[in-house]
Assembly symmetry: C2
């Protein structure tokens, strides 16, 4: 078992309930990655799940012409690798965006451990089930909506005490790639949100001046007329 340290990350980790199992310390150890260091590559054989103790990890694929296609960003307390369970190979590559420490959890041991513990098995199912509806912004109509939703999601997931300020861990290029927008569009939208006094932007530092406005953009703006046949439901 990992003893709670001065680093509080374990407390809010998705896997904290697994850590409290007494005999679990044998199947886990830490690894630290430097900025831009590869955690695993797409098609690598899947042996471990990774819990992020500290840092940020970007998951991506490379298409047939060598273009990067970012699939997700993951933060402290989140787990990587669920999508590799079914065929024992990682579908994505994963790279650290800053100095990042992970908890390496051998899946075989892990699965054996929780097999005899229905409550934990259920917890795992819940965590994976949750991922099925987790944030994709590609269904939002406008660039502004996507970016607003993205910022709000970041704020929520960074698990920081300060919910009105954040430091972007990724580049504009990465954001654009992830949201399927040109880098220039991301930059322009940021400028616009700043001009409209909704955000205060200083390079990677973002302060949310009007939280409600941001939510309005993310939510209400998604209400452009779409084919609606069952509005009565």
């Amino acid at each position: 078992m990992v003893k709670p340290s001065s680093d509080l990350s374990c407390i809010s980790c998705d896997f904290s309930s697994f850590c409290s199992i007494e005999d679990h310390d044998t199947v886990k150890h830490f690894r630290t990655f430097k900025r831009n260091e590869i955690v695993y590559r797409a098609n690598d054989k899947f042996f471990n799940l990774y819990a992020i103790k500290k840092g940020v990890i970007k998951s991506f694929q490379i298409d047939t012409e060598g273009n990067e296609l970012i699939r997700k960003f993951n933060f402290r307390g989140e787990i990587l690798g669920y999508e590799a369970i079914h065929n024992r190979h990682f579908p994505f590559s994963a790279i650290a965006l800053c100095e990042t420490t992970v908890c390496e959890i051998p899946y075989e041991n892990f699965f054996n451990m929780i097999q005899t513990r229905p409550a934990l098995m259920e917890h795992l199912l819940h965590l994976i089930s949750e991922q099925l509806t987790a944030g994709s912004y590609l269904d939002m109509n406008t660039a502004e909506q996507r970016l607003a939703s993205f910022i709000l999601d970041l704020i929520a997931r960074l698990r920081s005490t300060n919910t009105s300020e954040l430091v972007l861990p990724m580049t504009r290029q990465d954001i654009g790639n992830y949201l399927r927008l040109a880098t220039e569009t991301v930059s322009r939208i940021f400028s616009r949100l700043q001009k409209n006094k909704i955000l205060k932007i200083d390079h990677k530092n973002i302060r949310i001046l009007k939280h409600h406005k941001l939510m309005e953009i993310a939510d209400v703006a998604s209400n452009k007329t779409r084919n609606n046949t069952h509005a009565d439901l």
Copy 2:
């Protein structure tokens, strides 16, 4: 246990391995829905998983202004409800697109049943894990790519012996909504694909004339230049 009938659907059902458990017949029964009949509504309490024996089910949400937002289509042999496991409520509504028969599987019983059977528990995990990377086309750049990928995915998932012909179970409007394209765009792309002798279209009936061309559009066309920093991976 459901005895194999003249209807072959159980054989290729994702849950067939669960059906072979001897005492399982007590926890399952069939329901048939007419066209446009609701299977369940978003926010309904989650009690059952649904295996589609026959037919097609559309899952969708209604946004704050009453617009429909289609999340997925499911076909014979596929399971609905995984995304409701974590909070015991369906995040989407589900509606039959044609006469549809489902196998209603009480989740509580089901979970109890497989708890003592590690192999089945693992199978369930694999099925859900698989869903994490299952087809969204919104990451594709052009309308043509999305539609081509969509058609190819349909062909694969309809589990028909004939892989060059299909009958669309949904309207152009539904396709457009799902792919985030205007209905008119869907129509225009279909026309173009027909003009280019890649598809033969007769209303809902589609014949694939040049399978390789369609795959080229879906795959290769996704290779528009994107921000690529790690092309070497």
